[in-house]
């Protein structure tokens, strides 16, 4: 049985997701050198980073997100594109800061697993209400597709078939499952995945509220338990990266998976340079 991480990276006019994925792959090389990672993309990788990836996989069945900015229309294809029997899907704007081999052992028990609680940089459970009003208003299961797992199986395949259906017809499903005033005007893969969990009535089988991990540190600024505002988290707290790529945010040493969320983190911090120096890429 093979296992590995898969990321979907499609650049748009403002964000180089491939660059983010390359950084993620470097972080994985540091903390989990034996874990494979594949990238699903139609963009071209920087030549020096290609060796970080196990496989570079074209987006299957044409690009469903050619006309969109957010590029999430292809997310349902990852089940089919993954070369692994057991796969962890991650957002590209994440860093793996610790050995996560024990997470694979935990996930053995599941055919499909979604993170349902995330953490602040201070290690407390993040209150994501600010960003998840539609979930609360419609009693949707609080799934975070930015970090989830599946094993190639009938159960996972059924979920992904439904996800394809919901993503391709999201306005229709939103009308059925979401109250009018709370209904978003844009498609969200988290909302779509939660609607699928409702349809299949399998939330308790694909989440574990009492498990602290697998999860991630969610750096969206309005879930950090701050009272004072700012435009982004990087203006609110310092971020420090040692030569060994140990990361501190504010006064907190970071571990687990860091979802830094702000693309200019790559420009404002020396994170790329630090990782390149450390693994000699």
């Amino acid at each position: 049985m093979s296992n590995g991480i898969v990321v979907l990276a499609q650049n748009n006019n403002t964000t180089n997701y491939v660059k983010q994925a390359e950084l993620l792959a470097m972080s994985l090389k540091v903390t989990n050198p034996n874990t494979k990672i594949s990238i699903v993309t139609n963009n071209v990788l920087d030549i020096e980073f290609t060796t970080l990836f196990d496989k570079v996989i074209p987006i299957p069945w044409n690009d469903s997100a050619a006309e969109s900015d957010w590029k999430i229309e292809n997310r349902w294809k990852l089940y089919h594109a993954s070369p692994y029997d057991k796969t962890i899907i991650m957002d590209t704007d994440m860093l793996v800061l610790q050995d996560i081999s024990s997470w694979w052992n935990f996930l053995e028990k599941y055919k499909l697993f979604f993170t349902s609680k995330v953490y602040t940089y201070r290690g407390s459970i993040a209150n994501t209400s600010y960003y998840r009003k539609v979930f609360e208003a419609n009693n949707l299961p609080n799934l975070f597709s930015g970090l989830h797992y599946f094993e190639k199986s009938e159960e996972a395949q059924e979920f992904y078939h439904w996800l394809e259906l919901v993503v391709n017809n999201w306005q229709t499903f939103y009308e059925v499952f979401l109250e009018g005033v709370t209904r978003p005007k844009h498609m969200s893969i988290d909302v779509c995945a939660s609607i699928v969990a409702l349809i299949l009535d399998n939330t308790s089988k694909i989440t574990n509220a009492s498990a602290d991990f697998p999860s991630f540190t969610h750096m969206k600024k309005n879930c950090q338990d701050w009272t004072d505002g700012s435009n982004n988290w990087q203006d609110r707290v310092g971020c420090y990266i040692s030569r060994n790529c140990n990361i501190k945010i504010g006064n907190y040493a970071q571990s687990g998976i860091l979802h830094y969320t702000e693309d200019d983190f790559l420009k404002k911090s020396p994170v790329i340079e630090r990782y390149r120096n450390l693994i000699n890429v």
């Binding site: 201070r122 290690g123 950090q224 338990d225 701050w226 004072d228 609110r236 504010g250 907190y252 040493a253």
Partner: protein, 285 residues
């Protein structure tokens, strides 16, 4: 080893507040409710001996008189305030000064009214401190007692701390002394805008460092929860284990709600009203 245990109080008077009086009052309550001896560290030994019954203390440890420039505002209810010296720079030395193997370090305005803290001595954990707290008024923003600053580390109350003499705790208190000595550096690193040294902040920072700059297990929670009233409330009545407070009313400056407690230990931050109550108590003895 003979496991000695006791409470440790620090009393450094300023021009406005008689902390020695509070310590005498609290020592009696410690004996009554916790049945342990009390040691006092004070820079007013002569005043203590000439004014109060010194026999309430197991030991009196003299401290050199060394007034600080640490000034702060003390309220006496919501409408009245005074500026006074905040002589709080001795707490970090308690590990070296305490005569006990097991020490309960208390602020003199922490009014013991039950036996709950006796449980500290029966627990296996070597360092206990309150993190969770409840404002009796229930109308104020409690964020300032959640983190030492908005983006910084959790707030711990140096008001009430239990520790045993262990190698790890010695490291902790050495670290505390270092933080105190280099306060201007640490308060900037931990995003504290005020230059005023506060023991709560130093204790909190040291715990964070002992935890490896993350959420660790160095400090365990004290039994129960820290109940407090701020100096904008007024202690109006105290008899045995009963207290009656006038607590701030939301959106009505200078107006109060009456609130009674029975059998609850409370941190009474309005030191003026506490001292008025103690005066009455001492007059009745």
């Amino acid at each position: 080893m003979n496991k000695t245990k006791g409470a440790f109080l620090i009393a450094r008077n300023n021009a406005q507040i008689d902390y020695v009086k509070q310590a005498v009052f609290l020592a009696k309550r410690i004996r009554k409710y916790l049945d342990i001896p009390t040691t006092i560290l004070t820079d007013s030994v002569d005043y203590l001996k000439s004014t109060y019954d010194e026999t309430v203390f197991d030991r009196i440890i003299p401290l050199e008189y060394n007034p600080q420039k640490n000034e702060r505002v003390y309220y006496d209810g919501a409408m009245y305030q005074k500026q006074a010296t905040f002589n709080n720079r001795s707490r970090c030395q308690v590990y070296d000064l305490t005569p006990y193997n097991e020490t309960l370090l208390l602020d003199t305005d922490y009014i013991i009214s039950n036996r709950l803290l006796k449980n500290c001595f029966n627990l296996k954990d070597d360092f206990l401190i309150y993190k969770d707290s409840t404002d009796l008024a229930q109308v104020r923003d409690e964020q300032e007692f959640k983190y030492i600053s908005d983006t910084s580390v959790p707030f711990y109350w140096a008001t009430c701390v239990f520790f045993r003499k262990t190698q790890i705790n010695e490291i902790y208190f050495n670290l505390l002394q270092h933080i105190e000595e280099e306060w201007d550096h640490y308060r900037r690193v931990y995003q504290i805008t005020s230059g005023l040294f506060r023991n709560d902040f130093a204790f909190s920072i040291a715990i964070h460092i002992m935890n490896g700059f993350t959420n660790g297990t160095f400090a365990k929670e004290m039994p129960g929860k820290m109940l407090y009233t701020t100096d904008k409330d007024v202690l109006e009545f105290l008899k045995d284990d009963q207290m009656m407070f006038l607590v701030e009313k939301r959106n009505y400056l200078g107006e109060y709600n009456a609130l009674s407690t029975k059998g609850q230990t409370v941190h009474v931050m309005n030191k003026f009203s506490l001292n008025r109550i103690i005066d009455k108590e001492l007059a009745n003895e």
